[in-house]
Amino acid sequence: MARRFDIRAQPGFATIAMITFFLLYLPIVTLVAYAFNAGNSIAVWEGFSLRWFVSAANNDVVQQAALRSLIIAVFAATISTTVATMAALATTRTRPYRGLTFKYAFINQPLMVPEIVTAVALLIVFSRIKVWTGYSGLGYLIAAHTAFCIPFAYLPIRARLEGMDLTLERAAADLYATPWMTFRRITLPILRPGIVAGFMLAFVISLDDVVITEFVKSGGQDTLPTYMLGQLRRIVTPEINAIATVFLALSVAIVTAFFFLNRKKA
């Protein structure tokens, strides 16, 4: 019997799709596999071992870089999510008003300019401020990260707000709730999944950043990604694979959580 004619099928498409998925995962799987290599090489397999995870965990420089990455990401994600929530409240559920388009463009600007361009512009400005003020702490990195995290935090919060109508808030106001109470008891709880999603996106984006960090950081302020970038210039041991694997696991965990969070909403 002839196979039923499937109008959706296109010859070869499924094969190419499988090749694509293979190509997408082959490098990542290789990278993770060699993190468990007992030998010193990232090309020759010499048996299973966790020694590189141990050595990465005991490496002071790695510890400090990881801690720095986390501090920056926590600050940047918290601040950007807070201001993005406010901005989202200010730009949704309203008739178009003068300046609304301007606000959209402004908030999304960090997505539109190539990162390297923002990076050198920040280098120019911050290097001068560093000379003027003598301050060269993490503040610059936190400020830069906060700025480019804002659009990522803003998008899911805005999407969530657009799906909410004003009925409940009006009802609260009718029952003599103050605007602040209405916000605390009504708006914020309904908005929470959007805010959590925005925070997680901002956190991952901050954690992953290489380019802007590389140009803004002062001496001895390596984050985990810039540390890895520096290491790639030398002879690479599986220690880098081990660090990358842990990093990868963390990102995947956050993205998976984000995925399920969004799915529940739908």
């Binding site: 070869g12 190419i16 600007q109 300019v113 361009v117 803003y154 992953d208 990868l248």
Partner: protein
């Protein structure tokens, strides 16, 4: 009546004022740590370069912009095209176009494959595309480096299959950069393509077959025109970051095969020519913004066409 109107107008004005206050923190942060510095960089591009990097503050000069495409002979002052820069410009454009093309060739069937799965399976396939997208770009580039290096999986596999006798040098070539960018930006092509294909009305495809169109004809005359907005969106989303790529060419190009991002870095590092670096940055930004603007205009027009 008039006073009711009056108070409504006052309430609206107050609402708009509150909305500005509410969005002010976000706008101020973006201005201070993203947009403002771009204007300062524009000013820097018109200053004379300092002897050890930085600029001679307030000293006007067009040398930075002059050197973007031109160079002056140090002996006889003749002006000629800056070949080194043009090579890098051309490499950036060429590699970005090739990357866009390859991601389209791989991404189109992939997105189509996902869009034609049963509803409940699509999410899983889509999730598989998103995971690499959200993992660190540097890590993905590094992973690609391990695959294509001389002792890497690719060369080992080819040698075992007997296709080649000795490893081919891929790492630190233009090809390596392109492989890396294809790998890194592929999800950016698949996602908008999928979004367009998900909405595809397969009754039209059925009608095509009823009218004796072949598979290829249906693809070329029906599916591709219908998902064209997705193709354009995906191409723009891949082309733009490719043009401004910095990490991938640095890691896979190995310093010699520079792209624009690396040329910019060079001017702020060893090159010690900040005005030139600023001028190249602004050139790159203008090219990217123009591409985006053309795309947004086109998307807006396509949107009104569909609705009206």
């Amino acid at each position: 009546m008039a006073s009711a109107q009056e108070s409504a107008r006052i309430a609206e004005r107050e609402d708009i004022r509150n909305r500005w206050l509410l969005s002010a923190p976000a706008l101020v942060i973006i201005f201070l740590a993203a947009i403002g510095p771009l204007f300062i960089m524009l000013a820097y591009s018109f200053m004379a370069k300092g002897d050890y990097g930085d600029v001679k503050f307030g000293q006007f000069s067009l040398d930075g912009w002059f050197s973007v495409f031109l160079q002056r002979d140090i002996f006889d002052d003749t002006v000629s095209l800056a070949d080194a820069h043009l090579t890098i410009f051309w490499r950036s454009v060429r590699l970005s176009l090739m990357t866009t093309f390859v991601t389209l060739v791989l991404g189109f069937p992939t997105a189509y494959f996902i869009a034609t799965r049963p509803q409940n399976r699509r999410e899983v396939w889509l999730f598989l595309v998103t995971i690499p997208f959200w993992t660190n770009l540097l890590i993905r580039t590094f992973a690609m480096q391990e695959v294509i290096r001389n002792e890497g999986i690719l060369n080992t596999a080819l040698m075992m299959l007997g296709v080649i006798k000795s490893p081919i040098q891929i790492l630190y070539t233009d090809t390596a950069i392109m492989f890396g960018m294809v790998y890194v930006y592929l999800p950016l092509m698949v996602l908008p393509l999928y979004a367009a294909m998900e909405k595809l009305d397969f009754r039209l495809v059925e009608a095509g077959y009823d009218l004796y169109a072949g598979r290829f004809q249906v693809l070329r005359r029906l599916i591709i025109p219908l998902v064209k907005p997705g193709i354009i969106a995906g191409s723009i989303l891949v082309f733009i970051p490719s043009l401004g790529a910095y990490v991938t060419p640095r890691v896979l190009g190995g310093g010699k095969n520079m792209m624009l991002g690396n040329l910019i870095e060079l001017q702020f590092g060893q090159g010690r020519n900040w005005p030139l670096g600023a001028a190249i940055s602004i050139t790159l930004m203008v090219v990217v913004m123009t591409a985006l603007l053309i795309y947004v205009r086109g998307a807006a027009r396509a949107g009104t066409d569909n609705n009206g």
